[in-house]
Symmetry: C2
Subunit: 342 residues, 2 copies
Amino acid sequence: MRVARQDGRRPATLRMIAESAGVDVSTVSRVLNGAPEDVARAASKDTATAIRAVAEQLGYRPNPHARSLRTSRSNLVGVLVPRLSDVVLATIYEGIEDEAAARGFATFVMNSYDRPDKQRARTELALSRRVDGLVLGDAHSDGVVLDEIAARGVPFVLVSRHTGTHPSVTCDDYRGGRLVAEHFLELGHRDVGVIAGEPFASTGIDRTAGFTDRYRETGLAVPALHSAFDTAGGHAAAERLLRGDPRPTALFAVNDFAAIGALGAVRDAGLVPGADVAVAGFNDIALAAELPLPLTSVRSPMHTMGRRAMELLAGLLGGESPPSQRLAPELVVRASTRAEGR
Amino acid sequence: MRVARQDGRRPATLRMIAESAGVDVSTVSRVLNGAPEDVARAASKDTATAIRAVAEQLGYRPNPHARSLRTSRSNLVGVLVPRLSDVVLATIYEGIEDEAAARGFATFVMNSYDRPDKQRARTELALSRRVDGLVLGDAHSDGVVLDEIAARGVPFVLVSRHTGTHPSVTCDDYRGGRLVAEHFLELGHRDVGVIAGEPFASTGIDRTAGFTDRYRETGLAVPALHSAFDTAGGHAAAERLLRGDPRPTALFAVNDFAAIGALGAVRDAGLVPGADVAVAGFNDIALAAELPLPLTSVRSPMHTMGRRAMELLAGLLGGESPPSQRLAPELVVRASTRAEGR
DNA sequence: TCACGCTACTCAAACGTTTGGGAAAATCGT
DNA sequence: ACGATTTTCCCAAACGTTTGAGTAGCGTGA
């Protein structure tokens, strides 16, 4: 096993290798960490392999702090999310992390709890850690914190939510909302309601807009209620919508957790979810398929969104200005809308 | 708004402050980043305030790379978890992050997917980033990867799972298992089964042991089946347990997601969960209370575990050797076990 | 033979901090 | 008034890298 490496001693440095190989540290640097053309001009094939041998034997790992200090590039990126214990954001972050790792970046994640003061404070913290850029999953549609960050010239991309013209990778939420509307219309639902999520999140806004636009096109108005993105929020909103007259026969929650809460509210109202009232959610989290009453949901490519966002940021850091992306959603129909409404 | 700071220009350095204040950079360093006694010996009250004024005006932030290079301390810690999109681990990580931030540490999180090769690779990555220490949430009970890490002299603490004598912060899982057994016994369940989780995780092992020990004390044997920690795993294991003769009237899943899967399996078997078969889980994730059939579960202090783990690591890095901690679990009874079994 | 251009290197400075060791100036004790 | 002490500060080296600029030695063509 190649475990022991350098047990008690300090980590190997370029200088140690240089001395051991009888060359200058600059030569070692170019051979070990330089571009192929650099290494060609820096040393003969023989010295290069000799250097590499010593490096391997000493277990050399470049010191990232020294490198960052010299190059003023940290290969660090900061990631801000509303809340990591929300599985949607956690999954997006997994995508970000995977892509970042593949590109040699390391990431810091932090929760902003969707609070502007925390957003500012956490951004500040990331910046003080000298990140090269940021991936923001907690953009608010008013965009004020974002504009502040942009004004400071910090490269960043948005993920999941979008705002203004800032580069972003999102799901085509509007399209997703329409998909649900189509589905409900096909099932014959004419009295429906939307649990619209937080008013500052483009996800909820767009999903709601897609849905209501489609209904408006058929001449039907749709009541929509804002709510927290969690079960409690969904429950409360559904409760109120179910008191409407006429009572909706189908509910669209812009988020799976809210949809789960809605299922509970339907049951609490003495109705049978899926039969009396159809319920659809959004994101298609793993749990949706496993619920006692499997939940119809719009699958959003969360992991891919994360990857793409990191790709975009890498592009940005490389001096390009890659275009925003909107990824296609997909409706997954399950029992919670399969039985005929009414 | 104090936004503009230093728009286009490079970040402020000690030298810039020193020149602007007419003192040496070492003086500035001591005043700005030194211990109170240091600053006292470094400059008069007046110069100190003058220096601080300039620093503030220039928006000075110490360069962490330069500092780390000089001190060979990074104030970085690496965190390894099986999977961040598991809400249990995400919540623990939130605790870690909160405590780390409060102590001026930044954290890298990475998924190991409970695979030893990934554990090694990710550890290597963290180490190459020069973390001061690690928090490991993915310890396997065989402990081989851990021993390798320990042999390299890297400070680390375990969280959620424990192994050997490595410092750890865990829930008292054994106790938690016993609590569920007590509860089941009080309800009169004599034929029960355990969905035991992965065989390499101390969480599953201890929870199962606590439960079966309690039953053994009353002279009853308990069938236990290993499973993945997710709904699918719980579903499959429950299915098999329900085929037992006599058929169990209560199931204990060592994890809430597995419990949710078990609920589905009970229903699929034509039985009524909560009435025909009681089901209890572990962790008491937020969802447990919100399910159509609210789930009885053992609450484990996930966030606190994270915080404490980071505290422990900080202690370790400070040269102490703080003792491992086992935090108390708490049984939360809900409808999934409230109706009489049988 | 000499100017020339390679090849294979070396030199030295710089990135922004921290920190041990002074040292000049001010203050104090007697 | 003079040595001792304290206050207030400066000097310089070091952490490990990268990178622009140079150079010794060698082969080549005329």
